[in-house]
């Protein structure tokens, strides 16, 4: 735990109104960290996508708990876990293809993973059918001194 500067764990039922709660948790958690404003905006979007996936796809035909865990590391990175115990993903590669969606009737754009990928430095998806899915994201939160 010594390289973890701060830690938050939030467990909530798979209700769509909790998507806003998850975003608030991210911005609240990072508020005092000195993180770059645009990084916070990107992480909020990425978390919104991840939590929506858990609710829309993970618990599509069921109801359960979503766990959001955020760790602020001493390296200046934040690591975020979004966990559900829902349907799981049969084919992760396929699910991560841009524009692929299993819920077109809800006007899902099929861009969730693509957005998480481009707004984070690292993205990892672990899933077992009928057991659930865990998405792990990592991002450096300070302004980079790049041109």
């Amino acid at each position: 735990m010594k390289n973890v500067k701060n830690h938050l764990k939030l467990i909530f039922p798979s209700l769509s109104e909790n998507e806003a709660l998850a975003r608030l948790a991210v911005s609240g958690f990072l508020a005092g960290s000195g993180a770059d404003v645009s990084v916070i905006a990107e992480l909020k979007t990425a978390v919104s996508e991840g939590v929506t996936n858990a609710i829309v796809h993970g618990y599509r035909n069921s109801f359960g708990l979503v766990t959001l865990e955020i760790k602020l590391l001493s390296s200046g990175r934040v690591r975020i876990f979004i966990k559900d115990k829902g349907a799981g993903i049969e084919d992760i590669e396929k699910a991560m293809e841009p524009l692929f969606t299993t819920a077109p009737e809800e006007e899902r754009a099929g861009l969730g993973f693509a957005i998480m990928q481009s707004f984070c430095d690292k993205l990892k998806v672990k899933s077992t059918p009928h057991k659930g899915t865990t998405v792990t994201m990592e991002k450096y939160i300070y302004k980079r001194n790049e041109p």
């Binding site: 998507e19 979007t45 929506t52 006007e107 969730g112």
Partner: protein
């Protein structure tokens, strides 16, 4: 937070003013209002105004794409007006700007009357 979406129709232009946070939870009521107004006015141009949208994820992309398809069926046009930087970034990431023109207007208030 539910967006309290408003719209106004003038000649054959329908402007829809989206508000608040546009996510999976709030996209449905926004979409329903949009489609209700579309069916009522059958406009030649639909303007989706994002100036009061404070957050948007891919649900907003779905909303725009859905309206774009609907307007194509009606042989009508769509414009995206005044997206804030975070929203515009996401639209460009999703290449929506290749399909729907993004415009910035200074007369939001006058369209609204």
């Amino acid at each position: 937070m539910l967006p309290t979406t408003e719209y106004c129709a003038k000649r054959r232009i329908l402007s829809v003013f989206l508000k608040g946070e546009l996510d999976h939870h709030t996209a449905r009521p926004a979409r329903e209002l949009c489609d209700m107004a579309l069916n009522k006015y059958r406009p030649a141009l639909l303007v989706l105004d994002f100036s009061s949208v404070t957050f948007m994820d891919s649900s907003g992309i779905g909303l725009v794409m859905g309206r774009y398809k609907r307007m194509q069926e009606l042989r009508a046009d769509v414009l995206i007006a005044n997206p804030p930087p975070q929203v515009e970034k996401l639209m460009r990431l999703a290449s929506i700007d290749k399909l729907v023109r993004i415009v910035y207007t200074a007369h939001t208030a006058s369209v609204k009357e």
